[in-house]
């Protein structure tokens, strides 16, 4: 009976698995070939040469570092803000749904429109500089300055806060109110309630939001590319820029190698996360 049920499940999953294999898994495995053979007319075996060259390339290192910094800033801020908003919405008595809809609006605006708007807003002749000029502050090309990273962080948070808020809201509603009532009766304050009830029971949702935020950090490349082009200011030159440029330069060796390095990094991160999750489960 279990075997039959398993078979049914596999049959239903098959189309999706097939698509995933054909368009993602198999090409990814084939890409490994490009990381170990030389490019050009005579493709000879080169071993790990491309990996070593890549890890010595200061442009790649800078891109990797920038991606790490971007994720390191965006994910915690985005999670804290969205959790705060979700908790705030939960305490409201009315207009909850309206607020949730308003928060989701940035997500439904097409990427090209977002890129166009913010590019114009922060350009030298843009609205932001005009506002600053009222206060007597001289405007600059914000997207080509040291503040470019801050602007991209702001755009990321603005765009993705709604999605994380919805996830957190769902997680918060899954925590029975009786726990909070009991805690209140026992004399626990709001901080203690958050620490021992909300945080603990929200942990699975937090892990999900964490993973989705990291994924969304990589997806923000679309907006970045449309706003700042293939060669933006060095503070927002990300790993995706590097990979995109390698594709356009026909350097499939470096492209595939950087993909493998990135996947390895993500796998290590997921492994650490999994260990952390297990650790907290064991404590429970």
């Amino acid at each position: 009976m279990t075997h039959k049920r398993n078979l049914k499940g596999i049959v239903f999953l098959l189309p999706s698995l097939l698509g995933f294999s054909v368009f993602y898994l198999i090409p990814f495995i084939i890409a490994f070939y490009y990381t170990i053979v030389a490019q050009g007319v005579n493709a000879s075996f080169v071993g790990l040469q491309y990996y070593i060259e890549l890890l010595k390339n200061d442009i790649f290192i800078n891109a990797f570092k920038n991606t790490g910094i971007f994720i390191g800033i965006c994910v915690p801020i985005s999670m804290m803000c969205s959790l705060g908003i979700a908790m705030g919405i939960k305490t409201l008595h009315d207009q909850k749904r309206l607020l949730q809809c308003i928060i989701l609006i940035p997500m439904i605006i097409p990427t090209a429109s977002i890129a166009f708007f913010w590019k114009e807003f922060f350009s030298v002749q843009g609205l932001f500089n005009k506002i600053l000029s009222i206060g007597g502050i001289e405007g600059i090309d914000w997207l080509n300055s040291k503040y470019a990273l801050g602007i991209m962080v702001y755009i990321f948070i603005w765009k993705n806060i709604g999605y994380n808020t919805i996830l957190f809201t769902a997680g918060l509603y899954n925590i029975p109110n009786t726990y909070y009532e009991s805690a209140s009766i026992e004399g626990a304050g709001s901080i203690a309630q958050f620490k021992y009830i909300t945080w603990v029971y929200l942990f699975p949702t937090t892990v999900l939001v964490f993973i989705m935020s990291i994924i969304n950090c990589f997806k923000v490349f679309k907006e970045m590319y449309l706003i700042a082009g293939g060669y933006p200011n060095e503070s927002i030159y990300m790993i995706q820029h590097y990979m995109n440029n390698m594709f356009l330069s026909l350097n499939y060796q470096k492209l595939s190698t950087s993909a493998y390095v990135l996947v390895s990094f993500i796998l290590i991160l997921m492994f650490i996360l999994r260990l952390g999750q297990r650790g907290i489960k064991d404590e429970d």
């Binding site: 390339n57 442009i59 356009l248």
Partner: protein, 455 residues
């Protein structure tokens, strides 16, 4: 029962159709054993002529030309003069073509031959996707100095390997308006001696302005235009692609930007469309139009002793030798030997003397024939307007042949990377619009170009 019979009949028909279809395509393939595919961004009547001739000489070969864009029929302006036809795919851009080519290379299905000239060919050369043609050229007996401009033929190099062969070339010329010369009280010897660098053009302009006390202009256009021309001349100072070196944060680049802007602010450049101003200009600079001086009635003169046109030159004595069309064999070519034979056909005298070849052919005999025909054609056009050339067309053509010989042996500026040039022009526009300072632009450019070169 009836339903079963119907389904059997349909299945049988389908199977028959498949077999017939296979048979039909097999029959078509049997007519031509070999095929050469050539990819080009714009359609090329010249390529079509070569393909026709090659197929005639090689009946077992099918030459397929894949033009990415489609254009309508040429528009006739007047007798003997046509404008290019309408672009039928305005939504398709050069970026789309590059993406198409990159995907083809990645899938090992790139065309056998590739017409370069619009794409960043140094990237394909750098990635090893273009076959090194050095040994092909050296082993082909017809490629000698007597028959070809070998300096030009071997000019498309990346790290000492020849990745493409030019079909035609031209030289960036600097023209001088006759009326302006007369007003300036200058004589022909002034032009006989000098090649015009920016420095001695400015000196001449300042001298004449002070002497004649009249409004004279350096050339037409605006600061951006002047910068583009100057950058073409001086790009080697700021960018060495093969060595992966960028020097945009150098004072020389900042000075160049400021000089171009100052030239416009000081009224040295005239805006187009104002007839009086054009006639008060000493020079006009046209990129890539070598024989344009023969086309312009204002000159009436010709390239030769009267020297109303000379190659533009930088301070290092280098001229701008522009390759208008070049062809390469890709690594995915199924039959490289056959592709090389096709290239030889392209560069033969018979094909290169075609009026469809834009610029001077690399084949010497073809160039000589074309120069004579062009001079005769211009003479005929001028007669319609009541003007005439100062010398006989054949004499002009002979002088031009001598001049070309001189130019191809002069040092020339190696073409820079077109994608880097685009970044330079885009970034510097912010300076000319007044949005950024020259120092800021230089700093941004240096960071961007360094990244592009060293990724």
């Amino acid at each position: 029962m009836v339903n079963k019979n119907i389904s059997k009949t349909i299945s049988g028909l389908l199977i028959m159709g498949m077999i017939t279809g296979c048979g039909a395509s097999n029959a078509t393939n049997e007519l031509k054993d070999k095929q050469i595919t050539i990819s080009t961004y714009w359609p090329s009547p010249y390529l079509e002529e070569v393909a026709k001739q090659f197929e005639k000489e090689h009946p077992d070969v099918d030459v397929k030309i894949e033009a990415f864009k489609e254009v309508g029929e040429p528009i006739k302006i007047k007798e003997g003069m046509e404008a290019p036809g309408e672009d039928k795919n305005p939504n398709l851009s050069l970026e789309d073509y590059i993406t198409y080519l990159n995907t083809a290379f990645m899938g090992n299905s790139a065309p056998d031959l590739l017409m370069l000239g619009w794409v960043p060919d140094y990237k394909y050369a750098q990635s090893g996707y273009l076959v090194d043609l050095t040994s092909n050229i050296e082993s082909t007996s017809q490629f000698t100095d007597e028959q070809y401009y070998m300096n030009v033929l071997k000019s498309c190099t990346y790290k000492d390997s020849i990745y493409a062969v030019p079909v035609a070339f031209n030289v960036t010329m600097l023209g001088v308006y006759e009326e302006a010369i007369e007003k300036a009280g200058l004589d022909e010897t002034t032009f006989n001696e000098k090649y015009w660098t920016y420095k001695n053009r400015r000196e001449l302009l300042d001298t004449v302005r002070n002497k004649e006390k009249q409004q004279l202009y350096l050339e037409g256009g605006d600061a951006i235009n002047l910068f583009h021309n100057m950058y073409q001349l001086e790009s080697n100072q700021f960018l060495q692609v093969e060595e992966k070196v960028a020097n945009f944060d150098d004072n020389k680049f900042i000075t160049l930007l400021k000089e171009c802007k100052q030239a416009e602010e000081n009224g040295l450049l005239y805006r187009g469309g104002i007839e009086d101003e054009a006639q008060n200009s000493l020079f006009t600079c046209e990129l890539g139009g070598t024989t344009y001086c023969l086309y312009q009635p204002e000159y009436i003169g010709h390239v030769g002793d009267t020297n109303y046109a000379k190659p533009l030159m930088n301070e290092a004595g280098e001229i701008c030798l522009n390759i208008s069309e070049k062809v390469a064999i890709t690594k995915d070519a199924k039959d490289q030997a056959l592709c090389w034979e096709f290239i030889q056909e392209m560069l033969s005298e018979e094909m290169e003397k075609s009026p469809e070849v834009d610029g001077f052919p690399v084949n010497r005999n073809a160039a000589t024939i074309k120069n004579t025909e062009t001079a005769k054609k211009i003479n005929k056009e001028l007669r319609f307007e009541g003007l005439k050339l100062q010398k006989q067309p054949q004499e002009i053509a002979n002088e031009l042949n001598v001049k070309i010989e001189e130019w191809v042996n002069m040092p020339y500026i190696k073409p820079s990377a077109s994608d880097i040039d685009d970044v330079v022009y885009e970034e510097t526009e912010e300076f000319f619009k007044g949005n950024k300072s020259a120092e800021e632009v230089a700093k941004n450019l240096q960071a961007k170009v360094y990244t592009m070169l060293n990724e």
